[in-house]
């Protein structure tokens, strides 16, 4: 593997890193919101474009950059997804910063760093790069969550996230250490115990228990879900959007890698543990959201459930990894669109409020007060509920296919029950949005056109990809094929 190809394949990472430096210097030279914002957006765009160039390097599908990274089309697909999400966050964030924040520029740095961390993960095949990426995301997120000065909720959220994810990370690290002790290598591919000794087995199992617990925390899966609503609630909704989508997506991408490369699921007990976690997340997550009246908390709980759904795809790995990958990618795309749209609506609507809207009542009659936002929120809710006409349905369809393909009837049962409960509260959102607006409610006027534009874009994507997903499906299929699964 020539150095040239490595550089070409690693281009996106280099571009983004240098972009961060540029922005940093720019901010250091002169604090100008506009400049920072523009630089950030340019950086992100260039990074996205750089993938085209980089893709040329993957002539035989996969390029290994040292033992840390293994770049392939799927990794790039994830990267682009994360970068686009970051782009959306940057756009919406600029509005949010304009309104309520004194020192705006650092936000972009943090955003870019977090993004860098997130695009590191999909390609990493090594515990070191894993922990590196995870922590880059984490640390920048602590700051982003606590970004608004004065208000107390963001701070509380940030502290909770910091301490708890600290505990999570330690569990993760401890697990890695034990796995390493068992296998003698930090690469995913070689993580199985070198010697078949009982001791090695135990190290491996206990290590995985710790490892997956840490991961489950990052993905906020039951029983490690409990922090999620508070953090989502406290953080500014645009940051929540990022946290809910990019950080989770990145973690999922890397553990999926780990599951495939390290054949973790060959060990029945790990599989069992994951199955139980998945079922619990689907059911409990939805139950928690059932009568919740705080919009952001509803979305938090529902994200727990959705991560549970995604585990079905993860568990498919050992029987049909290719389709598992397709499912994960497609589901994440769907999930990104829906979640960003939902949180986007909240943050756009909060533009002129001094406190962020978060109760469900604050969007009552939205369909009549602010049609665009209303429609987008409806579409997002319907999509989250997995009802046709939206990409959410295609995603759910994939899950069913995956589940039946793997013969995981138990999980399918849980999936059905979970979605059944889910429909109720998503529909409550829809009903609130379309019902007659309370008379004292003021119309949302003068909302930023960028925000509305982005929302419309997301809505259209959800619908178009929901009605005619053909090209997306084929794209993912081909990429996975080329990547050699």
């Amino acid at each position: 593997m020539s150095v040239a190809t490595m550089f070409q394949a690693g281009l996106p990472y280099l571009v983004l890193t240098s972009g961060i430096l540029v922005v940093m210097i720019g901010v250091a030279i002169k604090r100008t919101h506009a400049v920072a914002a523009v630089l950030t957006i340019i950086t992100l765009l260039v990074t996205i474009l750089s993938h085209i160039l980089a893709y040329g390097a993957l002539n035989d599908g996969v390029v290994e950059i040292t033992s840390l990274f293994k770049v392939d089309g799927i990794a790039y697909l994830f990267n682009v997804l994360f970068l686009l999400a970051a782009l959306v966050v940057a756009f919406l964030g600029s509005e949010f910063l304009n309104q309520r924040i004194r020192f705006k520029e650092e936000f972009y740095l943090l955003l870019l760093c977090a993004t860098l961390g997130s695009i590191v993960l999909p390609a990493s095949v090594h515990f070191a790069s894993l922990i590196l990426g995870l922590e880059i995301i984490g640390i920048s997120l602590y700051a982003m969550i606590a970004y608004p000065e004065k208000a107390r909720p963001p701070l509380e959220a940030s502290l909770k996230y910091l301490v708890l994810s600290g505990v999570g990370s330690t569990a993760l690290l401890f697990g890695m250490a034990m796995i390493y002790a068992g296998s003698g290598s930090l690469e995913f591919a070689a993580s199985l115990p070198a010697d078949g000794s009982i001791e090695g087995q135990y190290l491996y199992l206990i290590g995985n228990a710790f490892f997956w617990s840490g991961i489950a925390f990052k993905l906020s899966l039951v029983p490690f879900h409990i922090w999620t609503p508070d953090v989502y609630h406290g953080a500014p909704s645009i940051v929540t959007g990022f946290l809910a989508t990019v950080s989770k997506g990145a973690v999922f991408a890397v553990v999926f890698r780990y599951a495939i490369e390290g054949n973790v699921l060959d060990s029945g007990s790990v599989q069992l543990a994951l199955t139980l976690i998945a079922c619990a997340s689907m059911v409990i997550g939805n139950l928690l959201a059932l009568l919740q009246t705080n919009l952001k908390r509803i979305l938090a709980y529902s994200s727990i459930a959705h991560m549970g759904y995604l585990l079905i795809a993860l568990l498919l790995v050992e029987s049909n990894s290719a389709f598992g990958y397709e499912t994960v990618v497609l589901y994440l795309i769907a999930y990104f669109l829906m979640t960003l749209a939902a949180f986007g609506v909240v943050s756009v609507l909060s533009t002129h409020q001094e406190h962020e809207l978060n109760t469900i009542d604050s969007v009552s009659g939205l369909f009549w007060r602010q049609p665009i936002a209303g429609v987008v929120l409806i579409v997002a809710a319907i999509s989250l509920a997995g009802i046709p006409l939206t990409i959410g349905f295609v995603a759910k369809f994939y899950l069913f296919l995956a589940g039946i393909d793997g013969g995981m009837w138990f999980l399918i049962g849980a999936l059905v029950v979970g979605s059944a409960i889910g429909i109720y509260y998503y529909l409550r959102i829809v009903f609130t949005v379309i019902k007659k607006a309370p008379d004292d409610s003021e119309a949302f006027t003068g909302l930023p056109w960028t925000g509305l534009g982005i929302l419309t874009f997301l809505g259209v994507c959800m619908l178009v990809l929901g009605i005619y997903p053909r090209f997306l499906i084929n794209l993912i299929h081909n990429v996975v094929q080329i990547a050699g699964f």
């Binding site: 301490v163 617990s213 029983p223 490690f224 139980l276």
Partner: protein
Amino acid sequence: MHLLWAIPALPLAGFLILFLTEGRLPKPVVSSIGAGSVGLAALLTGYIGWQFVSSDTTEFVSSSWTWMIVGDLDVSFRLWLDELSLVMVGVITGVGFLIHWYATGYMSDEEGYSRFFCYMNLFVFAMLMLVMGDNLLLLFLGWEGVGLCSYLLIGFFHKIPEFGYAARKAFVVTRVGDTFLIIALFLLFHQVSSLNIQDGLLFARENMSEGSTINTIICLLLLGGAVGKSAQVPLQTWLPDAMAGPTPVSALIHAATMVTAGVYLIARMQDFFLLSPTAMLCVAVVGLVTLLIASFTALVQSDIKRVLAYSTMSQIGYMFFALGVGAWSAGLFHLMTHAFFKALLFLASGSVILAMHHEQNMFKMGGLWKKLPVPFIGMLVGSAALVALPLTSGFFSKDAILLKAWKNDSDFSTLFWTVAVIAAFLTSLYTVRMMALTFFGKPQSEMHELKKESLWHPSRIRTVVPFALLAVLSIAGGWLGFEFTGRLFDDKGVHAELHFDPIALLTLGIPFAGVVVGYFLFASDLLDRRILIKNRMSELVSKFWGSGWGFDKAYDTMIVNPFRFIAQTRLNRNDVVDLFFKLIKFLASLFHHILSMFQTGHIRWYAFTMLGGLLLVLLTVVWI
């Protein structure tokens, strides 16, 4: 080829016109359409009847479009006319026309004049379909159609809730009978795999053995249907209440035509019944029981129309009895004559009631014969026919039945005959009573001066004509039908060749006896009527009889009230089944609340749960 189809088409056309114009037409037009359509139908019937009799064909058929063809089931709108249906059609159109004619006068003051004739025409149409259909489904169409019209017309004065109730009662009770009928249809189709009547009869003649169970079941089901429509025990309770309808309705539907549909049905399906002695026996018994019960009840009624209603029941009982003992022709003959004189009686009573300003209680009448000569004569003639005084139409038919009953060679023939004769005696009793209370004795309430609206004012003279015609028929109808009905069945017709043996004399004598006794009981002052009425025994008896032998009460307590209770009390207004789903909802929210209790917001508790989770995962992975 011939205009058979036009017979039902005419009243249908009348119905449609009246229905679509929503009563915007002036009354004369309405009456000419309403009565005229039936009149034309009657004339046409006469013409076709003459054609038919003079031709040597056994039936006229007129096909129109296919109704439905599904698998074996193939029914179409095909009209079928043979002697049997010809008699019925004659009665329906003929008597029907006269009653329509009369009604043009009788109803002229009521609101909804057009609506009335609309329903009446529809009824005639439906009745014609009933008797002319060549397949059982078409028959059933008519069957339900007449039921509907009877419902509509009983409840014609829809402002009065009791009438509405009576109407619904009539509909539902007959519906019960109809269910038997339609199940019979299913069974027939199951056997014959065709609903065509002639196919059915053929099948019965060829493939069914004497007294085969399946055949008996079919017959009993058919009987069930007939019982419902013809107000026989045990489904007779609706008929007395049905008197709520305007009197012409009672005359046409609840005396002359619809209630005899059951008789027609059994006669039509003769070949099935012939093969099933059991069924025949049942028919006879049903007839007799009704006959007795109705006669006794009629004996103590105070409402003149109810008396007539019960007498109708009993007369139809005669017809059933006749069919049951195999006196087919006699039964049909009686059907015809009964149509004449009962219609006459009703119309007459109607005139009385109208003149008395809708007073129906006979005890409030009395001594009317001077004031209302024409109704009186009509009543007189009708009653004569009813009690079967010689040479009236009723005499011939009833005599024929009794003789057949005597000559019928079943084990019960004597018993049957005796009961029938007793019933005949009772008939004369209550008839005399009715006449006495209504027309003789001293006026119980002072009779208002006849006002302009009264029927007997010269301006209403048109109502007298149908009246007179009916009177003539009830006298002469005997000879009219005598020969003709003989041709209906091969049971040697109704020829009463042996009119001089003791039995014949007895049957001849009974009515007179009845009249005489009745006279002493109710008309003359020779013996004190109070003896009868005052003692408790007779009070109880009369109470029991008066309530129609307590059938209504029994049904109310057994069926109606329980159903009402479970339905109308809030017991299950909203659906026990829903509780299950409510339970699910409750459980879900319960779990939601329980789980939410964990979300305390205390970071240390959160950390604790996480470590707990870690422990759980460890246990799962390592020890399972």
